[in-house]
């Protein structure tokens, strides 16, 4: 695992020197979605809660940055703390009301919250620019050039992975798993399931806000799309593709999804059809994701190597 991680880090570190302009755009987009997917999976894997409203946190952070830069002329990087606070607040409100519900009801309520936020943003021309969005946000300095933004996103991804790793090993991380495994048992040993699920939602939402911030820096604009349900769906698809049970599964799924889209779109306009076929194949034949596909082959080869 350690060597694999070192190799992956080395490849990611030199990648900008190997890619041309378009390749860099794809790579940055993949990193941003990877940050989002890892953050989303912190909630999904550890608590079993499937949020269909993470676009709310992602978009709240993105719009906070866009509004502060365009209206108050803040510097791009200085907006990051407030962007994360906005994502955390949205996560707190959505989480507080949603985690009381289970399964499909939870999922639907998170979707409803995110769609409400989208509708307000979409129509409030005076403040958010409505569906015209907020454009012309050119980040100066580091975040403004592709290499700088690439490395900033890579550092963000590493930070999010490190945070998730630390949480997973902590008593709170075990407590989240206990709540997922058996909520009644967890309550009986003195754990408030509600409290921990809200906490997980807030942490997951805040880290998703980091992805939203990077997304706005990358596309130099903010549109209501950031908050739309398709954004929530995209992150779920990335996690399904990569496999939610594997630590790096969501990040790998995000990379596969973004690269696949770039490749397919350069040949045909039927990307949604291709995506549908890939998803169908994944869910039917490899429900544990791309990562498991690789591992299965490894396991099959291992005995042969030993013989």
């Amino acid at each position: 695992m350690r060597t694999k991680l070192a190799v992956a880090a080395a490849v990611l570190a030199v990648l900008p020197w190997l890619l041309h302009d378009y390749g860099m755009q794809v790579a940055i987009q993949a990193l941003v979605l990877a940050v989002f997917a890892m953050s989303f999976n912190l909630l999904f894997r550890n608590t079993g809660l499937l949020s269909f409203g993470h676009a709310a946190c992602f978009g709240a952070a993105g719009y906070t940055t866009a509004l502060l830069v365009s209206k108050l002329r803040w510097s791009f990087a200085a907006t990051l703390p407030l962007a994360l606070v906005a994502a955390a607040l949205v996560a707190l409100v959505v989480g507080f009301f949603s985690v009381r519900l289970t399964k499909i009801y939870f999922t639907m309520l998170t979707l409803a919250f995110a769609q409400m936020l989208w509708a307000v943003t979409h129509k409030w021309y005076g403040f958010t620019g409505g569906d015209n969005g907020i454009t012309g946000l050119l980040p100066p300095g580091l975040l403004g050039n592709p290499k700088g933004l690439y490395y900033a996103s890579l550092v963000a991804l590493a930070a999010v992975c490190a945070i998730i790793h630390v949480i997973r090993r902590s008593p709170a991380g075990y407590t989240l798993r206990a709540v997922r495994d058996n909520p009644a048992r967890a309550e009986a040993i003195g754990i408030s399931a509600f409290e921990y699920m809200v906490a997980a939602f807030v942490i997951s939402g805040t880290l998703s806000g980091l992805a939203g911030f990077l997304q706005v820096a990358w596309q130099h604009s903010a549109f209501p799309d950031l908050l739309y349900w398709t954004t929530s769906a995209e992150v779920i698809i990335a996690v399904i593709l990569g496999g939610s049970a594997e630590f790096f599964g969501p990040a790998i799924g995000a990379a596969v999804l973004v690269v696949l889209e770039a490749v397919v779109r350069s040949h045909t306009q039927y990307w949604p059809l291709a995506l549908g076929i890939v998803l169908l194949a994944m869910v039917l034949f490899f429900p544990s994701g791309v990562v498991s596909l690789f591992q299965r082959r490894q396991r099959r080869e291992a005995p042969r190597a030993a013989a």
Partner: protein
């Protein structure tokens, strides 16, 4: 004063009276059984005591404190531990992690998001003591999902003991066990009471096991109390004989 006092408790579900006017007193240090067929209201009464169900009428008093409307996750801090009928602890964790987590939860240390769980040496040590006490030391590194039912019950009881309860509620401790495992569990429960001094309230629908094990028995039938007394009194109680003993003999 009894350790646990359930006072005229009633609970209905959509018109169905699961408990009607049930009272119960459990003395400190006793081995008390709730007996009755399936659907008599034993598990409902447990759920009322532990706050999983809100009660419609009546009061639950523990060690002199009214805990009638206390949420489940606070009950353990009063000193009431539970082991469930279908013992599925936390299947994704090892036996040691299961019990360590319960130790930390009692000490209110689970809010730590940073320090790794294995670095909590004191909690792990206490957990290992409890695990060895229930006889599962060999299995402590095993993930609980893979364990047989008999071992799962022990893990579940170990989790409950980690919370240092004054009163331990055991819901059907013998259900799903083989004959040999049942005998083991009966002596295990006796040992629990003798060496830890834990007060026990358990449910069981196996009449013979209850008469053999319990010091006091409350018999429930269709949500009401049918009889209350020592095993000898229960055995000779005409209503009880009519309701179960006669039929089963």
């Amino acid at each position: 004063m009894p350790l646990l006092e359930v006072h005229r408790v009633s609970k209905s579900f959509e018109g169905f009276r699961a408990l009607s006017d049930v009272s119960l007193a459990v003395e400190e240090g006793s081995l008390h059984a709730l007996m009755g067929p399936n659907g008599a209201g034993k598990t409902t009464l447990f759920n009322v005591i532990t706050g999983r169900y809100t009660l419609d009428a009546g009061r639950v008093v523990f060690a002199g404190q009214d805990i009638s409307h206390t949420p489940t996750h606070r009950i353990i801090h009063y000193g009431i531990g539970v082991s469930f009928q279908r013992a599925i602890p936390f299947p994704s964790m090892t036996v040691l992690e299961n019990v360590t987590l319960a130790v930390l939860a009692l000490d209110r240390k689970t809010r730590d998001f940073a320090r790794p769980l294995p670095s909590y040496g004191d909690a792990a040590k206490r957990a290992e003591e409890i695990i060895s006490w229930v006889g599962l030391s060999d299995l402590k590194r095993q993930v609980t999902a893979a364990l047989p039912q008999g071992d799962l019950k022990r893990v579940d009881i170990a989790i409950a003991l980690a919370s240092k309860p004054r009163l331990l509620l055991l819901d059907e401790p013998l259900a799903g066990l083989s004959r040999a495992e049942r005998a083991q569990m009966v002596s295990f429960i006796r040992e629990l009471l003798r060496s830890l001094g834990t007060t026990l309230l358990f449910t069981e629908h196996d009449t013979d096991a209850v008469l053999q094990l319990a010091e006091r028995i409350m018999v429930m039938h269709r949500g009401s109390v049918l009889a209350e007394g020592t095993p000898a009194e229960i055995r000779d109680h005409p209503g009880v004989q009519e309701a179960f003993l006669g039929r089963e003999a």
